[in-house]
Structures are given as structure tokens and as C-alpha cells.
Symmetry: C2
Subunit: 439 residues, 2 copies
């Protein structure tokens, strides 16, 4: 029989139970992370959003009713009314002596995944039971860091006069010529899920000058790697009246400040993930390599034979990551492998574009954009795209589009890097891959 | 011939040009909002992200080159290097005497919509040229308020220990039994765009206790009213270990604080929209009416003949708005018209549910949820839904789901209310309706 919530309300989170509260009555709520029954003595470790506290049931100290009738089970949802006591041998030096315990919801005798922290279940199994799995201390740490990262990004950009934009996820035509778009049936019309906020953020740089969006993008890529998702969370930034050079400087500062904030506010989570010595505030400015230098580095040291104009294959990035482990830029990519909206350098073989790398992983792409309509139409044609499909977008270039530059950054990938995760699916609450649509 | 950006960078925004800068050289960038040519004297009103400043070209004072060769046109994108001068007759008491002007991008002689503020073009035409239209002072004011609202909501919820969640937009099955879902082709499988974060936020209340999300939801509703969009921006909130009563209190405080922040930080924008006397900080707590009282009020005063169990038709809401113009709650809706996840009251004819109204408009729906798995399965069956389609969601209820309650709030509609907009499409940068997929 389950108890009703009734008029009980939590008075504190576990983290708020400090020595000043000794001898005070409190109400905690959460889940049974662990329990032990030593005959005349029973312990419950109650876990909530912020941590855990020990509930101690000693025969004779608590009522017989509480001692005999309290049900135990992993992840049972309970509330505890009790008195805070100092007790050196309890974790954190504090225990709760309960006067009453409510059992709000139960679990089966055997949980599908281990929640005590003793063993780690396989990721796919964990994802199948994600609402349970997310209660693990590792996942709590990841989510704390992800949250802090998003807060840090917003804080940084608002301070620098950025406007947060919200652009549509449903788009009318296959922009960027993508074959990696999910089609939607939009009433009787064909439409697609947006692949990036690229064109909209460019338009809006002509209104708000400095804009950003943090939102979902969708990629119908069938790649089943540990680095790709079909639904990704992306930071998009665009700035008017600047070039790539300014974006490189902004991004360095953003990375610097975000990691500084995470270290300042979430060191406990970093430590739990054993990343406190790896996720360190990077020195700015970041090393800058031209694409040709990187190609040379790969070819010389690693026995590759890459030619100008080739994209860098994963295996080469892996070797590159052995040489360059920190944050670094690769700039001046060949124009031939960049999208139509990227500006050419003075030597049109090169483009005013960059990637921000962290070791082997690409975290960001960006560059100076074309802001002249005729140039943009020419670029579309050169890429084999039909300017007619971009009619509505091109219209924006008739009305005083400023010079602009920007970047796109994969939040999930950055969370993976900061948290030292092996698989990007761990960075997301409910990941979407070609094989995973639930939960 | 257009100028290159080169090494010019803006030194200030228009808002930063204060009397302390008199006699200093500055660089501004933006768009020509208006211009006048009085022979020996020319004025340009340069508009940027934050406002406008007068650029004064007087023959003999500026160089002949600047005076004779500066091109004029509405919404031309320009940068101006010049000296700040005090001049009482200029707007804000300041004018800029230019030493050099760059023309970065031009516009056609005739713009498709009026940008001087003299006339207001029809909304559909404005939406067709949205990147231009958003530069209007009215739209600047709306976007400022929308931005402040989002900041205020996050600030409020973070202070109260909420975790910001990010839930998937692509879902595997037609939850909530909706006929209003957009189908997607997800590789070879059928999938849908999410209609709300409802089920995910409920699951996550069992992990983070207090959660919120601000994100896109998708409704394939063919209604062509001024109050509906197909892609909506929604605030979802869910709290564990509480009931509807606590949610009502939280939401009152949220509304109170958000409007307080907007009035404190964006009074200029409110005044521009002539809403400074209408969008006032509401008194809490809000009036609370039971559904049955509202039905009675409508029937008595307005000649309707609504019966218990009926949804309230738009026309009745309109009349209701004449009686009750502020924020108020309608609680205890008939169980029969509420979704399966809503908890019944002690008398199961009623539900533990509420709407928050502002006048005639429904802004929020919420309530206490069912947290017991058997009850939830029974509720699904009673609503004619197949528990098998909810298999993955129901699993979460096996693992200690806490009692929980929450709300969903339409951000776009709230922006409309705060800004006094007649049409919800004005509250969104790029609205999506059954007829509009571009820009």
C-alpha cells in the first residue's frame, strides 16, 4: 500500500542539511539509493536532486512502527520526516532520525540496471531505462555540467550585446542542398526539419547585429559512430560588421569563460567524472594552423598522403589529436569543400573559414560569409545549387545585408569533451540515433 | 560601387553615444532609417540594434568628398567615422559630424514595405520580407520584450532550484493520442514531431524534481486564427513532491516577477508599444474560479447555455474576457475533457487541473499528474488509448515515480499579451502557419 503525499512538503534538499540544522525537524524527499539492515539497526541512503543523506533507524530510538513497517527497496520513492543529528561516522557527519516515513512509489525487486554505483550497465540498456539511469551520480554530474555550460554561454553572450534569436525548425525548402534532411509532411506540402540555423541567423545579423541561438538541429546521417546524433543541440552565433578574425577572438573568450565558470561552480561534478585535471581553463589565444599546415603535419608525421582539397578523414584526425591535444584552430580551408555562403580569401583557392578543434574532435565550424547578393548567387551556381530554391533567403540580401561572420558549435560534443565521455549519447538526456527513437 | 569593411570596426552602439563622448572620434554602423537633403545640409538617421543617431553633413564642415559622394537610400547599410558633437536640436541632443562614410550594401529605390514608420504595411507582406521588417522600431520593441521575458523566466526558475532539461523533438509514437501531429520519415520508420514535452518532463521530474524546458513544439492544427501557430515556443514546468496547489503559487510568482523585470528593464519598449499602463505588475494571488463557477458566470451574464463537461467556446471566452480582464485561474475542469495524465479530484467528476487565463486568452494549462502506474494504465484505457503505445513511457513509472504536478505555457501568446499584439505571428521572428513555410 502506497502513501499519499497529503500535506507533506519537502523542507530542504539534502545539500541544505548543514550542522546548523542539528536538532531541527525537517522533511526530505527522494529515492532510496542504498540500504542496509543490520538487525537492530537499519540505514537508508536517501538521494535527491543534489546528493544524499543517511537516514538511521535504530530500534528503541525510532518508533516500533517506523522500525518494523518501513519498506526497503532500491529507488523506492520516499519522504522522511525526522530530526537532524550530528554523527561523525555518517557521510557528511550528519544523520536523520526519522519520526515518520512515507512510501510514495515502489520498484520491482530487481532493477534493470544497477543503481548503487557498484557496476556500470551497458549504455544501450541504460538508455532503454533512461528515466531511471539519469538518477545515477555520473549522470547527475553530466547534467550539472551541461546546465552550467548553457548558463555560462548565455551569460557570456548577453554581456557582449548578443540577442537570443528563435528560428523555425520546420523549413520549406532543402537549403544548403542537404541530402541529410528529414522530410516532414506539412499539411499537403513537403517540408523539412532544419539542419542548422545558418540562413536565418545570417538574415538576423542584418537586424540585431550580434545574434545567437541554442536549439535543436536535425541530421539524417546514417553514421553509427560514437560522435554523431540525429538530433543535436547547437549553439549558433552570427555577428555583423566583422570578419572571421573577430569570431576567432570571440570564440576563444567564450571557451575560456565557459570552462572557468564550470570549474568555479561545478568542481564537484568535474571531480566525480575525474576530469578536474583534464578540463582546465585553456590559455588564449588558441594556436592557429592553416589547413595546409595541418595537411603537412598529418602527411609528415603519420604516413598519410592527403592532398589539398581533401577533407580530413577520421583516422587522420585521430593522429592529429595525438599531436595537438588542446583547443586549436584550423583556418583557410579549401574553398572547394566549403558551403556556398563562405567567403573566399584573397587567393580564391582558400576560404575565410575555420574549425575549432579539441584534440581529434571538431567542435565548431565558422567563417566570414558572403554578404553581396550577386556573389552569393554566383556561389550557389558554382556549388550546383538552384538560386530559385533560395529565393526567399536571397531577398534578405536586397535590403542592406551587412558584412558578417559566425560560427556553429555542437553543444553535445562539447559536453562530451568537458565530461570526458566516450559516447556522445551520454551527453544528452534522450539521444536520437538512426536506431533509437525511444524513450 | 560598394565599400569593403576592411579594418573598420564599430566603436560604439548608438545608445552608447553619450555627452561624455563629445569631441571624440567614433565609428558607428547600421542602416539608414531616414534622410533629408536640404541643399547645403544633409541629415542621415543611422539606426542600429539599439536606436538611432543623427549624422549631419554640412557643406564646408564635412569634406567635399563626403558631402558630394555619400549615397543615400532607405536601409542602406553604412558605417560612419566621425566626431560626436552636442547639438540641442538633434534627437538626443547629439549629432555626428562624419569624416568618412562607407557604403557596405544598397537597397532598391523602392522598398516593399515602409520602413520610416510613417505607414504600417499589411502583416502578410511584412512577413514576406521579414528580415527587413524586423528592423522596424515596433519589432525591435517586441523582440526586446520577448528576450527579457525569456531571461526573466530562466532567472526565476534557476533561483528556485529548477533544472533546465532538453527533451527530444522527434518522437517514436503518437503520444497523447494526437491527431495534430506532423509525421516525419525517420530513415525507414514513421516518427512524429513532438506536440509537447509532457511525457518527458514528467519522467524527468522523477530525476531532477523541479524541471523546465523552453523549446519548440509542433501542432498540425489547421486553424487559421490570430491566436494559433504550427510551431510554438513553450515553457514546460514540472515539479515533484507537490500538487497543483503548489504549481498555482509558483506560476503566480513567475508571472509577477517576469512582468516586474520587463517593466524595470524594458519600459522604453513597453512605452513604444503603448502598453505601459496595460502591462502592469499583477497582484498576487490571482483570482481562482472553479470551472463550474465560470460556466455559471458565462451562462448567467451572457445568454449562453453551456453544460458541465463542455469545453468553453471561443465566443464564450471573449465574453468572459469582458468580465475578467486580468490574470485568473480556472480550476477543477471536468475529468472527461482532460488528458489521461491528469489526476482526478476526490470527486472523480472533477480533475486536479487548471488554466491560467489573461482576459479571454488561455495562457497556461496544468495540473496534478497521475504517478501510479496502474492508475495511469486505467486512465489510458478510459481515454481509448492503447497502453502498448506508451510502453516506454510507462516503464518510467516502475522506478519510483514521485507525485508531481506541472504546467505548460505558450511563450508566443504571452508575448502577444504583454506587447498588446493583435496577431500572434507578430510575436515570432519567423512564424509557421498552415499557409506559411517561408521565409
Amino acid at each position: 500500500m502506497l502513501d499519499e503525499l497529503g500535506d507533506w512538503r519537502k523542507t530542504h534538499y539534502t545539500k541544505d542539511i548543514t550542522p546548523e540544522l542539528v536538532d531541527r525537524e525537517i522533511i526530505l524527499g527522494g529515492w532510496v539509493r542504498n540500504y542496509r539492515n543490520l538487525g537492530g539497526l537499519k540505514f537508508i541512503s536517501l538521494q535527491d536532486k543534489y546528493g544524499e543523506r543517511q537516514i538511521t533507524l535504530k530500534r528503541g530510538v525510532v518508533s516500533d512502527d517506523v522500525f518494523d513497517n518501513t519498506k526497503f527497496g532500491y529507488q523506492y520513492c520516499i519522504m522522511v520526516r525526522g530530526i537532524v543529528k550530528a554523527f561523525n561516522e555518517a557521510p557528511g557527519g550528519i544523520e536523520i532520525i526519522p519520526s515518520e516515513i512515507k512510501l510514495l512509489n515502489k520498484t520491482p525487486d530487481k532493477l534493470p540496471i544497477d543503481m548503487t554505483g557498484e557496476t556500470v550497465s551497458e549504455l544501450d540498456l541504460r538508455l532503454n531505462h533512461r528515466a531511471l539511469d539519469l538518477r545515477s551520480l555520473k549522470n547527475q554530474a553530466i547534467v550539472e555540467i551541461r546546465g552550467e555550460l548553457l548558463r555560462a554561454i548565455r551569460k557570456f553572450l548577453f554581456k557582449r550585446d548578443f540577442t537570443e534569436i528563435t528560428t523555425p525548425k520546420i523549413i520549406g525548402s532543402a537549403t544548403e542542398g542537404g541530402t541529410e534532411l528529414f522530410p516532414i509532411i506539412y499539411f499537403e506540402k513537403e517540408a523539412f526539419l532544419t539542419q542548422s540555423a545558418q540562413l536565418y541567423k545570417e538574415q538576423l545579423s542584418g537586424v540585431y547585429e550580434k545574434v545567437f541561438e541554442i536549439s535543436d538541429c536535425f541530421r539524417a546521417e546514417k553514421s553509427r559512430t560514437k560522435r554523431h546524433l540525429c538530433e543535436i543541440f547547437t549553439l549558433d552565433v552570427e555577428m555583423a560588421f566583422v570578419t572571421m578574425k573577430d569570431v576567432l577572438e570571440l570564440l576563444e573568450e567564450l571557451v575560456y569563460n565557459a570552462i572557468k565558470d564550470i570549474r568555479e561552480n561545478k568542481m564537484g561534478a568535474l571531480k566525480y567524472l575525474e576530469m578536474e585535471n583534464k578540463t582546465v581553463v585553456p590559455e588564449v589565444s588558441f594556436p592557429r594552423y592553416k589547413y595546409e599546415e595541418i595537411i603537412e603535419l598529418i602527411n609528415n608525421k603519420n604516413g598519410f598522403n592527403l592532398e589539398f582539397g581533401e577533407d580530413i578523414p577520421t583516422e587522420a584526425y585521430r593522429r592529429l589529436g595525438d599531436e595537438l591535444s588542446g583547443y586549436y584552430y584550423i583556418t583557410h580551408w579549401p574553398m572547394s569543400i566549403k558551403p556556398f555562403y563562405i567567403m573566399a580569401s584573397k587567393n580564391p583557392k582558400y576560404s575565410e573559414s575555420f574549425d575549432l578543434q579539441k584534440g581529434m574532435l571538431e567542435l565548431t565550424s565558422g567563417g566570414t560569409r558572403v554578404h553581396n547578393k550577386e556573389q552569393l548567387m554566383k556561389a550557389l551556381e558554382e556549388k550546383g545549387l538552384n538560386p530559385l530554391s533560395f529565393k526567399s533567403h536571397l531577398t534578405a540580401y536586397d535590403y542592406g545585408m551587412p558584412p558578417h561572420a559566425g560560427l556553429g558549435l555542437g553543444i553535445d560534443r562539447w559536453v562530451s569533451i568537458i565530461c570526458g565521455l566516450d559516447d556522445i549519447r551520454e551527453a544528452v538526456m534522450y539521444p536520437r540515433t538512426p536506431d533509437r527513437l525511444t524513450p
